[in-house]
């Protein structure tokens, strides 16, 4: 009998492991619609708002680039002396993992567009070893980037003269699914959390297949 209980728990454990699914973050609301005289209730999830930014090659990048793709977003600036180099080391690991797989894209947004010109971003991308396609470096209107960070990705990004480098920002890596819904936020300075992110990328991939 005891053995049976052990076995069942083990089976349950394995079953749960395989069915791990990621939460959908953000506020949600309900809408109702009438189909064939029946009222159906749908859940509407928060999504990343539309955006229009420029990448390191001065090409316009909008939400259409990531439509139907799984992507990771982060916020940084090239002259950042604090957490950015660690975040970039970690993002480089993610990049190595997903390189060549068209399901995935990485978007790094500068929060210092006044200093981080397009040629500077291009140089930064090259030096990190990015191909500029699967891992893009984005700039644009400062307010738009801050708003996108805060409302779209639940990240902090703002100038702060008391901080080294002049900006305060969160070191989060934000995982977004093909329907533009945020599915996870990971500390981009913590290797263990980034390991988790790399696992979750593939959980999300199996979800859409």
């Amino acid at each position: 009998m005891k053995h049976l209980i052990y076995l069942t728990s083990l089976l349950l454990f394995i079953a749960c492991k395989q069915n791990k699914s990621l939460p959908i973050l953000g506020e949600r609301s309900l809408t109702s619609r009438v189909v064939n005289g029946e009222t159906l209730i749908d859940t509407v999830y928060a999504t990343v708002p539309t955006f229009s930014l420029l990448n390191q090659d001065a090409d316009t990048v909008t939400e259409s680039l990531v439509k139907g793709k799984i992507y990771v977003a982060d916020f940084f600036f090239t002259s950042c002396p604090t957490i950015c180099p660690i975040m970039k080391r970690e993002m480089l690991r993610v990049y190595e993992k997903i390189k060549g797989d068209p399901s995935f894209v990485l978007l790094s947004h500068t929060i210092d567009p006044a200093f981080d010109s397009i040629p500077l971003l291009k140089d930064y991308a090259n030096r990190l070893g990015s191909d500029g396609k699967q891992w893009q470096f984005l700039t644009g209107d400062r307010e738009q980037i801050y708003e996108l960070a805060e409302k779209g990705y639940y990240a902090t990004a703002m100038p702060d003269s008391t901080e080294p480098g002049g900006y305060i920002h969160s070191g989060g890596f934000i995982l977004v699914d093909p329907k533009s819904r945020v599915r996870g936020i990971y500390n981009g300075t913590d290797s263990k959390e980034v390991d988790q992110l790399m696992e979750d990328l593939f959980i999300l991939k199996s979800e859409i297949q």
Partner: protein, 138 residues
């Protein structure tokens, strides 16, 4: 047996000169300071970051410019430099808040840890470099 052990330890203690003991403490302090002030960019193992931030580990630049290290830490560095055959051009920020002693300890640690053969830099030459560096900037 225990007495022999004590004797042995005392011998070890005295076999290191005072200067060596002091420098061990300094290197340990330097290691802590390195973690706080340097490792974000140069990484804990001194490997740097791709072609953005130069390595310290087995860096030819570090060996060739060991005498300028205190000044580089204090004032930062700007402009292109060649390290192990690669060109780097990321600005390194100044560390004006670090005390002379802390800079000295970081130098001792970095020069002990990262070159292929540890570089022993006498304390007075670090001091001289710092004074020279401050005099030049005013």
């Amino acid at each position: 047996m225990r007495r022999a052990l004590y004797m042995f330890m005392v011998c070890i203690l005295f076999s290191c000169s005072d200067a060596e003991l002091v420098s061990m403490q300094q290197i340990n302090n330097g290691a802590k300071l390195y973690e706080t002030h340097c490792s974000n960019c140069h990484q804990a193992d001194g490997s740097g970051l791709a072609l953005l931030i130069p390595p310290l580990k087995q860096s030819d630049y570090l060996v060739q410019n060991a005498n300028d290290l205190p000044c580089i830490i204090k004032k930062g560095i700007q402009g292109e430099i060649s390290v192990n055959g690669n060109l780097y051009n990321q600005k390194m920020p100044a560390n004006e808040k670090l005390s002379e002693k802390d800079i000295m300890d970081i130098c001792l640690f970095v020069l002990q840890k990262f070159p292929e053969k540890p570089i022993l830099m006498p304390a007075d030459s670090i001091e001289k470099c710092l004074h020279h560096c401050l005099a030049n900037s005013h």
